[in-house]
């Protein structure tokens, strides 16, 4: 079979589908925003927390932590995918929980 090669463009951004879930009924997303969301793989905890707060329309933002397959996300999504050998073709299930101790590095995006 023939494979056609083309130059790689610089504007390529990688995106991944995420599905946000929680075990806390009080923090559940409204049904209309519970579908999959396409986000940049460059996102980290802080940006994802902003995303959840936006979807919850919270007046006072709550800091969230994120679990993927039971482990806390401490890197960008991209680094997580690379470290675990997962392609961006997957839908990542992100479970969000209220952050227990407010993270000190809150400004790190």
């Amino acid at each position: 079979m023939s494979t056609i090669e083309t130059e790689t463009h610089q504007d390529s951004t990688t995106q991944v589908r995420v599905r946000l879930t929680t075990r806390d009924a009080d923090l559940a997303l409204p049904p209309e925003s519970s579908g999959p969301i396409l986000v940049s793989t460059g996102l980290r905890r802080y940006a994802l927390s902003t995303l959840v707060n936006t979807l919850l329309e919270s007046e006072k933002p709550v800091p969230f932590e994120f679990l993927i397959n039971g482990t806390f996300l401490r890197t960008s999504l991209d680094e997580y995918l690379t470290a675990n050998g997962i392609s961006a073709e997957t839908t990542l299930t992100l479970e969000y929980v209220r952050a227990r101790v407010p993270p000190s590095h809150i400004a790190s995006f």
Partner: protein
């Protein structure tokens, strides 16, 4: 290309790179061909009806002799003292029009994971069979993901064996979905195909259609939109068939025991979240409905292969009508 070499060694090398064995592919093709047979026939019939008027002969002027008088030419004829005597019409043979239809099938992993691969195989069998029964032109099949592969070239006749060879090349394992690369490559392949067929014997018009079969999840919408416009300028029509196998499955939010389900995994429920720099440099989150920024003007969302002949025929009817108007 998929042409099997005469040398056994090359054949082995080639086969080792393919996601499926020839036997498995033949079996799969047989299966999908038989379950979509009636739908294929229905699509062929609908397309035949769409194409029939464009292929019919018409009476056209202006000749010195002919079968029927052109009424509009009579007065100028008399006024010119019988000098402008091309007043007859003849039955003209319509200009030979060629169609090239390219089916581009998403071979990325997301297709396999969502169960859309099955729907893509059904679509591929249905459409390629219908087009080949119609005998209006040439068919090509591409696979895309990380890279773009020609699974069936325009100049090769279509048959069941060709169908099996196409299936052999799809594994739905590719780790990227580069739609931008697909559209760019399709444009250049169409350009080559047009040049090849408009040689000394060609001469007729060439109408080119790209049918993309994919779950529709792709990035870089702005760049893709520019390429779609470029294709349009070269008279390449692009119809994006979004196969949405997940439409009716419940979201995994409910499955995980969490509260709040409602929306499923369907592309119809999908949104995109982007951080954009605000006026003061602060990052603002922008949420959009995914399909609102979808770069393809003509797209159809199909959840069941049985919907395909109808919606596809409607899209193609529109296309052929535009084609017939400009011819």
């Amino acid at each position: 290309t998929i042409h099997i070499d005469s040398s056994a060694g090359a054949e082995d090398d080639e086969a080792a790179l393919l996601p499926r064995s020839a036997d498995e592919a033949r079996h799969l093709w047989g299966h999908y061909e038989s379950i979509t047979r009636d739908l294929s026939l229905s699509l062929t019939e609908q397309l035949r009806l769409i194409l029939a008027p464009t292929l019919a002969t018409k009476m056209r002027g202006d000749f010195r002799t002919g079968k029927r008088l052109n009424i509009k030419r009579i007065i100028p004829y008399i006024a010119s003292q019988y000098k402008r005597d091309k007043i007859w019409m003849r039955r003209s043979i319509p200009s030979k029009r060629n169609y090239q239809i390219m089916l581009a099938v998403d071979d990325s992993k997301s297709m396999g994971e969502s169960g859309s691969g099955d729907l893509a195989f059904e679509t591929l069998a249905l459409v390629s069979r219908a087009m080949s029964m119609l005998e209006v032109g040439e068919i090509s099949v591409l696979g895309f993901g990380d890279n773009v592969r020609v699974a069936h070239p325009f100049d090769k006749p279509f048959s069941s064996e060709a169908g099996a060879q196409i299936f052999q090349q799809f594994g739905f394992h590719q780790t990227k979905t580069d739609v931008k690369k697909l559209v760019a490559n399709a444009i250049s392949l169409f350009r080559d195909a047009k040049n090849k067929s408009s040689g000394p014997s060609g001469g007729g018009d060439m109408w080119q259609l790209l049918l993309i079969i994919s779950d529709g999840v792709c990035e870089n919408h702005d760049t893709i939109r520019r390429l779609v416009r470029e294709a349009q300028e070269e008279r390449i029509m692009i119809v994006f068939v979004v196969v949405d196998a997940l439409r009716n499955t419940p979201g995994s939010a409910a499955a995980a025991g969490g509260a709040g389900s409602g929306a499923g995994n369907s592309i119809m429920d999908m949104s995109s979240a982007e951080f954009e720099a605000g006026p003061n440099g602060e990052m603002k989150l922008k949420m959009k409905r995914y399909l609102d920024t979808f770069p393809f003007g003509y797209y159809l969302v199909v959840t069941d292969v049985r919907e395909l002949p109808g919606v596809l025929a409607a899209a193609l009817r529109q296309w052929f009508a535009e084609v017939a108007d400009t011819a």
